[in-house]
Symmetry: C2
Subunit: 128 residues, 2 copies
DNA sequence: ATATTATCTCAATAAGTAATGAGATATTGA
DNA sequence: TCAATATCTCATTACTTATTGAGATAATAT
């Protein structure tokens, strides 16, 4: 759950690239089960295999995604705890001296996660 | 409050550099009033003025900080709505298909912002 | 074993980003 | 106006990162 500065830097760097940000968004939406590299490439509109592999490896090294082999495919999935930790890292700093600025961020989250944060207080599955 | 993909990419790129991340954290803690460029440089342990100016300009272009002239100093301050929007951007994607993964993120925020999110449901001051 | 599918690895090239140092601009006080 | 303070701008150099294409590795089916 806690993210070091080095980890945050790596994660931000990974997220600051168009292809990688698209991959992360795609995998986050794909859910914990993830999807094979080939499907990611197709969804991105045909990225070359080497390029795709490069970005997936970068994301994996940054801890934003993970992979597992399944048959002849390699399935990639988002690592939700890293995303949560990144948010916590930013907000922790944010709150440190001026808690009042956190309200809007929490409000934004509460809005986006309306059904989960208000109706489903169930224990998390993939959090760190 | 809404952040486009291009804005998110710019913000992530800005946050992925050690000096700039340190600046943002410093300014976020400095509060809405901000602090002069020179003080930022000193707090960072003596960065050259050109280097500091370069990074501050980068952050300002990414919408993470803003500046105003005050006497002979230029005061920089964090733009909280961009940070909130960035969080909302990530979480919006996160929630889109799998709301259950948001719970940990919200919990992390609620924990970090305990006093503000639970005791002070006052209207936000700097949100977009 | 061989062919096929799926993905990774490597080397080369191209492009973008950061640090440095010199100098320019703006504000204030003598 | 002149000097001092505070910060920005520009050019150079060094470093890092992304793309491409060829080829290697792993798993499966015939």
């Amino acid at each position: 759950m806690s993210v070091t500065e080095a980890e945050a830097l790596a994660a931000f760097a990974a997220l600051s690239q168009e292809t990688r940000l698209a991959i992360v968004r795609l995998l986050v939406r794909a859910g914990p089960e993830g999807m094979p590299a080939g499907a990611v490439g197709e969804a991105l509109g045909g990225a070359s295999s080497s390029r795709l592999s490069f970005h997936l490896a970068h994301l994996e090294q940054a801890g934003l995604v993970r992979s597992r082999r399944e048959g002849r495919s390699i399935i990639y999935s988002a690592v939700y705890p890293t995303l949560s930790g990144l948010v916590a890292f930013l907000m922790r700093d944010c709150c440190d001296g001026h808690p009042e600025v956190c309200a809007p961020a929490v409000a934004a989250l509460a809005c986006a996660c309306d059904s989960s944060s208000k109706s489903k207080p169930e224990p998390e599955a993939t959090n760190a």
